[in-house]
Symmetry: none
Subunit: 215 residues, 2 copies
Amino acid sequence: MSAEKPATKMFIQIVRELRGIIQDEEIPPGGKIPSERVLAERLNVGRSSIREALRSLELLGLIETRRGGGTFVADFNNHQLVEVLAMFILQEEKDIRNVQAARMIIERDAIRIVAEDEALRSLPVWESLLTNVIMNGKIEREDVMREIMIASQNRLVLKIWILLKQYSNEPYKNQSTAEEQPIIKMFLSELMLGHTQKAIVAFEEWAALLHKGRE
Amino acid sequence: MSAEKPATKMFIQIVRELRGIIQDEEIPPGGKIPSERVLAERLNVGRSSIREALRSLELLGLIETRRGGGTFVADFNNHQLVEVLAMFILQEEKDIRNVQAARMIIERDAIRIVAEDEALRSLPVWESLLTNVIMNGKIEREDVMREIMIASQNRLVLKIWILLKQYSNEPYKNQSTAEEQPIIKMFLSELMLGHTQKAIVAFEEWAALLHKGRE
DNA sequence: CGAAAAATGTGGTCAGACCACTTTTGTTTA
DNA sequence: TAAACAAAAGTGGTCTGACCACATTTTTCG
């Protein structure tokens, strides 16, 4: 009949209440949430139910817990979510090429973002990297790309990138070879000039070079 | 076994083990997971710890539970994830933008891949979608993009896309408006013709249109 | 006053107990 | 034999109470 079932699971309900509490009491990121025992009494449920809800939120990276300390509202920027999902989703991906492809998609776009933004492409870091290549002749692709990923200012994408990087597990450790240097220089130069397409072309040549040297 | 200091939280560890079990025993989507009591004994932990892990995965929509029935691995799709994350994060407009941006990066590249491949852009599905737009006038952006993601043949990227989609999915099932239709038609046409740039431009106009209609 | 020590608070984990519900099993019956 | 029914077993849902390990606060004492 119309008898109200607990349509939503208890722990989902608790998640809702929790959000209400955080909101009503204006607990800021980093702020402390009432203890599990207090919450249990306040919401009239068992502590274990409270914990199930809290653990869920923790897995999502929405709260942090410190043993002996308490539970705190997390900084929304560290989603543990990505890692956990990766555990389930990436696991079965044996095909490294897919990972590599995914990574390049992200990298390519980050380059575009940086190149097309006056402020971003003017960051001193590119000049610094370029100088480094010319002077020392050694630089790692990963380091360059990390700077670009960071510059592109999307933490979520950065997170995914780092994750893919771990999974692709490539032997890119090599110092840049003499063959690589002119490409790197061109890449960075075009990037700083805001020539998106040329920068991406150079980027792809660079990638192809490394890839070729491995088979 | 020695007294190991669990660097990672117990319930996270259990999540890992769970993944291993699902993998090793090749439990398919919809398949049944061992009962909580069995798992507790098998992993030598308390049932409550098992439950905390399971509840976390349930919140992520990775498993389903049926009271009295059992626990089952789910098919990644519409589950609490969106709702819960929205509940906590939606206020942070910035994060949503990041998700949306990440999603568009992937979509844009998938379009490129399809458009630049003779065989892919010739798939009958595009003609079918186009017809659908013209005849019924209604089509969802999500459905179109899903076809493109699938066609681009990178399962990993497809999965990431699904994840991001859940994160950012707009609550409204907006049918395509009259305003949208010409853009959709142009998009699909250019795609089929292999005009990558034009297709992407149309794609972005489409996105902008949807985005605009929401503020 | 300041440092050491004790008390308190908090999350982490476990064990056991019911409950409500579903599935399986076993028995009876048409 | 086959269908229908009833009993038993299995499973998730929840609560309680008990320790533990660690962190913070309070008290005590030099």
